[in-house]
Symmetry: C2
Subunit: 128 residues, 2 copies
């Protein structure tokens, strides 16, 4: 992308405000890009499906609520202001009791359901 030809906007991206604009859960929305990576905000509640991304690590930063990440050997609870990186190839399942709002960081084009696919696969590359 010809980044250097663009004049960057003079305002920051408020993650809580962006997440509040999303009209449905489990639908990641892109808020910014860094090289070939995307920052996506998402609202989740309940449990996702087990999946993995063989090609990439995946970072989660919690904005509101509590994110639970189930891993093969246990669960991690991620609170607002906390970061967790799921390594590539590790099976995981995101979950939240009550709604959680989070930001994910991963390469452009990564599918939310990883190698599993299926009905919970979200549209990719939708901006908000």
């Amino acid at each position: 992308m010809p980044h250097t030809s663009k004049v960057p906007a003079l305002h920051a991206i408020n993650l809580a405000q962006k997440s509040a604009l999303i009209d449905q859960q489990w639908s990641p929305r892109v808020v910014a890009e860094m090289n070939d990576y995307q920052f996506k905000v998402v609202r989740i509640e309940g449990e996702f499906i087990w999946h993995s991304h063989p090609e990439t690590d995946e970072a989660f930063i919690v904005i509101e609520g509590t994110l639970r990440i189930d891993l093969p050997h246990g669960s991690v609870y991620v609170e607002p202001g906390e970061l967790y990186v799921v390594p590539r190839g590790i099976e995981h399942r995101t979950a939240a009791e009550g709604e959680a709002r989070l930001m994910m960081i991963e390469p452009r084009g990564v599918r939310n359901t990883g190698h599993e696919g299926g009905e919970r696969t979200a549209d990719n590359d939708v901006w908000i």
Copy 2:
């Protein structure tokens, strides 16, 4: 890196707690990696030097305080919970009145002073 051979830790990284452990300002400390990118926390106060990174965009997320990013065409103020991405090749200067604590995300090996170098160049790849 042989990520899949590692069992990921079952605890999240608290960014405010990590930033509180840093003993001096303008000294980025790595807290996590995602593929070949690093998450670094840093405490800043006053003004840095003007520089750019011709090879990469650079993302900033504010943890505490207010980050000012001076750009050729104006300044951006970034508050806690906000994100800003400086595009590659764009001259910029980070600054804060009073201390700000932030997280930077960029490829491993990026030098804090970019193409400028000089006495304010920090040690790279120091973890906390």
